[in-house]
Amino acid sequence: MTKLSLFLGCIIPNRYPGIEKATNLCLEKLDIDCSDLPGASCCPAPGVFRSFDKSTWLALASRNIVLSEELERDVLTICNGCYGSLTDANNELKENAALKKSTNVHLEKIGKKFNGSADVRHIVELLYDEFGPEMIKEMVTNPLNLRVALHYGCHLVKPSKERQLGSVEKPTFFDELVEATGAESVDYPDKMACCGAGGGVRSALLDKSLEMVNHKFSRISDADIDCIVNACPFCHLQLDGGQAEVKEMLGLEYNIPVLHYTQLLGLAFGFSPEELGIDLNVIKNDAFLAKLKELAENE
């Protein structure tokens, strides 16, 4: 496996630092050579900035990639949005010489140059490709007896032409990784439906965005699960913080715990919910935390 640098993005370090901590703990446990990526910025967010101005989107994205090129490392993302933005920008710049040239005109002003020597990875596809569910299962020390509602998040698998991770209608690779922790990935209606946050909808049209995520909540709450698992902090923010907003807007209360995959994997590696920042979510579900404690004590 190539060496990696960790691209944090915005929401993880600046809103959900527990995911950053969980990622660090998992990477160490898995003995993955992954450095920091000092000085990285917003990816920038694909649905908004790419749609405002392509040259700005490419300039900022390429700078982040170049920082990793300079370290001779591939970029590791832990967010579907960052993964989408950086992958798409990287592919376009590698394939289109004219775009690469015009982007490098901007980069030259800060003494940088895009070469196209780094790849962009997402932690879920990296773990699936480089380790595989069987190996992860063998490394798990605390199998989790949990029922999980998995939310893939759109930009992990789509557009499929760019991602090439198999079926977009009913993918299984992420479910397999969830089940490697001992948890059960429970099927539910509209499992692949969007959380409603992307494309600038959450920022500009919050009420509509919340109606979309409320649809997911209603489907998930019927499925008798312990928690939601995702691999994208923007989905995470929408699924966790969104529950409080839905409660205020529609008077509906779900109280479903939400975990990033690195937090789920961290639990299966024996780390405590506090070490993984699971208690720092907007939704505080004491029954879930008590269940985790019980699981840990039974080991």
Binding site: G47, F49, F52, I110, K208
Partner: protein
């Protein structure tokens, strides 16, 4: 200033909306369309007819889930087309206030979601450094980001145009 040719811009970018047969798979697959006025099929039709769609509010209701693009039987890159129509609109000065605000955050902090005191406290309690290894910690890196944004004239683009 002459009116932008939306259809030509899309076609030049390989987004061939003219092959659309108006089957409606896009609208039927759209999670946003269940709750908003977004009618993807109508957007594609308006683009085909090269009608003025730059002021159409529906453009901003797409959550970019790509369902329509994946399922289009004609293989039209519908989300890419919507993003490109948005670009033309933004360059015509049409932009939602909330999106100007996010743009200002990136111009100022290099992050669309900058850090706050509550998160700094959480970071400390987790044993992480108060500031992450991003532009937040390295002022010279933030200066580079600002220089790039200026070079792309992003600051001028997102400032509200005075009529």
């Amino acid at each position: 200033m002459s009116k932008p040719d939306v259809l030509k811009t899309l076609q030049d970018a390989g987004l061939d909306v003219l092959t659309c047969m108006q089957c409606g798979s896009c609208s039927g697959s759209c999670p946003s369309g269940r709750y908003t006025s977004l009618n993807t099929r109508r957007i594609v039709r308006k683009a085909r007819k090269n009608k003025d769609i730059l002021h159409d509010d529906d453009l901003w209701m797409c959550a970019t889930c790509y369902n329509c693009q994946e399922r289009c039987p004609r293989g039209i890159k519908i989300v890419d087309a919507i993003l490109m129509i948005r670009t033309i609109a933004v360059h015509e000065g049409i932009m939602l206030p909330a999106h100007r605000k996010i743009s200002e955050l990136v111009l100022k902090h290099g992050h669309a979601v900058p850090i706050n005191d509550a998160t700094k406290e959480k970071r400390k309690n987790l044993g992480l450094e108060e500031l992450p290894e991003t532009v937040h910690k390295y002022p010279e890196a933030l200066a580079d980001v600002k220089k790039l944004l200026e070079s792309c004239e992003f600051d001028k683009l997102v400032v509200e145009k005075q009529e």
